[in-house]
Symmetry: C2
Subunit: 188 residues, 2 copies
DNA sequence: ATTTGCATGTAATACGTTACATGATTCT
DNA sequence: AGAATCATGTAACGTATTACATGCAAAT
């Protein structure tokens, strides 16, 4: 279960409230790596605190609790990160959609690939803007986290964009050219 | 919930038993797109059959049931694929690990990035072999599914490899050079 | 004064994983 | 004969999502 490690990782970068963490999961972090809603975060923080991997270091205005990682938590996180990956959880509905493109007829395939290319291009452009606002290396692990995430995301979007383009080109130029395969119905 | 769509997609490519589908989820499909075990697949096939999106088209030797997608299922799948993505489930423990690299000290970062580069290189090489065994376009949607998956995976691994290399270079060449940041302990 | 954002929590339901359980067929 | 693989299923447990529920603080 990786939610606990995602939380430990974010807290290792800097202390935060459950609310702060929930917002991180809505940004780049949740967009590429791990999603979670506040309804799983709060109970999980409680469990991590019970295991003494995190602790409450401050209580603020609206009953807010700021958590920080403990040395034990940092060690647990380090072990998990350095442990050779092997099997991990992978569940990505966007990628799933891409993989299923061949079951559509050619017009639909073209439409989907064009949409993917467009989105990947837009997302990459957006990330370039994000990256330009982060100082190249200000040393804080929290900004490093964001920068690494953005750089990785950019690389993935670029790769996706190029793949969509290539696949689209492989289908032939227009909706009327290059049937290349019999009509869908005849395939099965 | 995307498991149902993953099943519809695989069945749209060709009819299969629950067992067959479970094996697909252990291969490339589960490696990049969506994981599922047989214990979720069998009940889900039952539900899809009840909604008449799939149907049993053959019963074989060991009480095996071969499922196929129905026209209604195909339409549901098409709608899901063409619907503009917006929000989707993303949960990838490998990517999570990459995002958390900055919380490690520099030696650990280097070790992790080197391991990622190595694995991405090995995985890309493996996929190139897989791709060379698939005929460029034999027309069957099932083999197209596999080819697209492999091509996408290859693009992602290449991007990951390059990103790991760049990030590693950005840290400085060796374990003894370019501290660039104060010791971990002083950061917080 | 009202709206927006901060901030936390629980309950019901749905979904997924692991373990348990069974048995037929094929290969060696 | 025995092992490996095919093939399906359920039960218990753990995890996640959605909806419900509350209230303070800051901004307009």
């Amino acid at each position: 279960m990786s939610l606990s490690h995602a939380l430990l990782g974010l807290l290792a970068a800097s202390p935060a409230t459950g609310y702060d963490l929930a917002r991180e999961f809505e940004r780049d972090f949740g967009r590429y790596a791990w999603q979670a809603g506040h309804a799983s975060i709060y109970p999980e923080l409680g469990k991590l605190a019970a295991r003494e991997l995190v602790q409450v270091v401050d209580e603020g205005p609206r009953g807010s609790k700021t958590y920080d990682i403990t040395p034990a938590g940092r060690e647990e996180l380090r072990q998990w990160l350095l442990r050779p990956p092997g099997s991990g959880v992978v569940r990505n509905s966007h990628v799933l959609r891409m993989f299923l493109i061949p079951v559509l007829d050619e017009d639909d395939q073209r439409a989907m690939l064009a949409a993917i290319e467009e989105q990947a291009t837009a997302a990459a452009a957006e990330l370039r803007v994000v990256l330009s606002t982060i100082p190249p290396s200000d040393g804080s692990p929290r900004s490093e986290l964001g920068r690494l995430a953005a750089e990785f995301g950019l690389a993935q979007y670029e790769a996706t964009r190029a793949w969509a383009r290539r696949t689209l080109d492989g289908l032939g130029g227009s909706a009327t050219r290059t049937p290349a395969r019999g009509p869908r119905a005849s395939v099965r």
